[in-house]
Symmetry: C2
Subunit: 345 residues, 2 copies
């Protein structure tokens, strides 16, 4: 359970040491202890592959109406905003909680997110997680669930566009749900793609090759994942071939989108983790890049595909597109796993 | 600064010891430390009297449009809800943050609230406070500001209806803004009112007498404060006399109200800390007990009274009524003081 290789990027220190380091906040008056957990400790107790089945269950609960996720609360604080996403699973293993992040300029150190979860039966707080790993792990796990349900059988080659933290966890997740053979990574900075290749091939015991262009990555791939910060399309939709699965994670608002609308034109099936959230983008910023296109009406929820309410891939020739928006409530599912694992020590 | 008598109910231990006991959560990856504070430590670093001027300033900023407090976010989690109130002060000393509490049945230990604040310029989290004291301190301080601005000059006698935690901090706050001579406390359980009398007379060096009826408390008082959990009126409006100031803190929804509408009928001026919040009760539960009465249109914000936009008391014969609803954003002001004081150690 501890610091398995794919779990984390922090595991330079023995897990035991990390374990000892997390804090409890103790109130003498209430005699309660609540664990306060950092990124290092999150990585010490869970890996993305542990989380994928839990996120898959959350998607099922979403489809069955047992996941509550109200619209986000945004509070304007002048130079930036605080943003709250909350969620509750009311099914088999009830849990509730929230994530809060802020949008201030990151000119100085110290910015952090919080994820807090509560036992869904008693309402007692399970603990507090500071840092960014829970968000990255859940986004990775969501991508893993999408690949599991949408990529064609036998898919074993990944084209990764992007080489940052999110790209890494997408790859870890894809590798957890499919028996990968080969990965080709492109990102514009040679040093970045080469570090990715070196580190990820070691971590996953896989052939991970840095390539010179999106074309070199995508040709003959089964799974094409873009996880960039680009506001302009990072590859040409014409590079896609029948049977491919495509995941897009980066900025995808109208006019600032990492993939072109042409990718949707080429896709037979378009799926998202939260159609409601996808639809709500326009309220805060610009609409999602597919919201005002003919494609909007055929986008379906991944949960509905998983439980069979809506079809997913129907043939090996289909191109499937997964638009990741970050289903609210899934952070809380990850936090629940963190606290269960800490308590099991 | 440390554990002054009126600061708190926790100060059984030397402040130094409490000081040492609070935790920092440390992320090695980001090299940041965030203080995690409990009720005991809150009481060790601030008292209600320190907070009153800060809350008064927040009320001014409210009146001047520099306090942002969006409607609360409520998430239904089956057996209970999570409730978020967030706020940001964008004026002279900007700070933002939120409080979250839950409404699950309190059948077992471990329930807690959180208050989290952020530097309003940089967006960096100042720290996390667990427990209930911040809420109690800010409600006390709001009551203090109301007494300061609404009670008649020379008011020195308090009738307290209720003997719990909120009643105690209302009295500490009233004592901080007025030169009190005498306090009479009534609550239905003899033991409770006698403990209140004993403890508060010691804490405040004041004559605090437990009395047998609301009438015995209210007759000849200058300030009448009710802080109960009663869902039916706890005193007769006919007991009020010209010149009195009245504060009500307890449940005050239509049909479950600790004071009768007759109190409003008797009042010349009705003030609240947040008219917007008072108006919003109906969205979640029942409307505020005055919302659907003729009184609604004359209720005014305390901030507007403080800055002179709206009149408050106009004569020594006026009866003034303060309806405390808990202006959102004021918890964050208290948290800001806590973290400033901790940092100043």
């Amino acid at each position: 359970m501890w610091a398995r290789p794919s779990a984390g990027y922090a595991a330079e220190q023995p897990a035991g040491l990390i374990r000892q380091r997390y804090h409890y906040v103790v109130s003498e008056r209430s005699s309660m202890r609540y664990p306060i957990v950092t990124d290092e400790q999150v990585d010490a107790v869970i890996g993305i592959e542990d989380v994928i089945p839990k996120i898959e269950r959350a998607m099922r609960e979403h489809a069955n109406g047992n996941l509550t996720a109200p619209p986000r609360l945004v509070i304007d604080a002048g130079a930036g905003s605080l943003v709250f996403t909350a969620g509750a699973l009311t099914g088999q293993e009830p849990v509730a909680g929230f994530r809060v992040y802020e949008t201030f300029p990151k000119d100085e150190p110290g910015h952090t997110q919080l994820v807090v979860s509560y036992d869904g039966e008693s309402g007692v707080m399970q603990g507090i997680i500071t840092g960014f790993r829970v968000g990255v792990i859940r986004t990775g796990a969501i991508g893993g669930v999408a690949v599991k349900h949408l990529a064609r059988e036998g898919a074993d080659t990944v084209a990764m566009i992007g080489s940052g933290t999110q790209a890494r966890s997408q790859l870890v997740a894809a590798n957890a749900v499919r028996d990968l053979e080969q990965v080709r990574v492109y990102s514009p900075t040679r040093g970045h793609r080469e570090s990715f290749s070196e580190e990820m091939s070691k971590m996953l015991s896989l052939e991970v090759t840095a390539v010179e262009s999106p074309r070199d990555a995508i040709e003959d791939a089964d799974i094409v994942i873009s996880a960039t910060r680009s506001k302009t399309p990072v590859y040409d939709a014409d590079l896609l071939e029948p049977g491919m699965h495509v995941t897009t994670l980066g900025p995808n608002l109208a006019g600032t989108n990492e993939i072109e609308i042409g990718v949707a034109d080429r896709s037979d099936v378009i799926v998202t983790d939260s159609l409601a959230q996808l639809d709500s983008y326009g309220e805060y910023t610009k609409p999602y890049f597919l919201s005002e296109t003919k494609h909007r009406e055929r986008i379906r929820d991944l949960g509905d595909v998983i439980v069979g309410k809506r079809p997913g891939r129907e043939s090996d020739e289909d191109i499937t597109l997964f638009c990741s928006v970050g289903l609210a409530g899934t952070e809380v599912v990850v936090a629940n796993e963190v606290f269960k694992n800490l308590a099991g020590q």
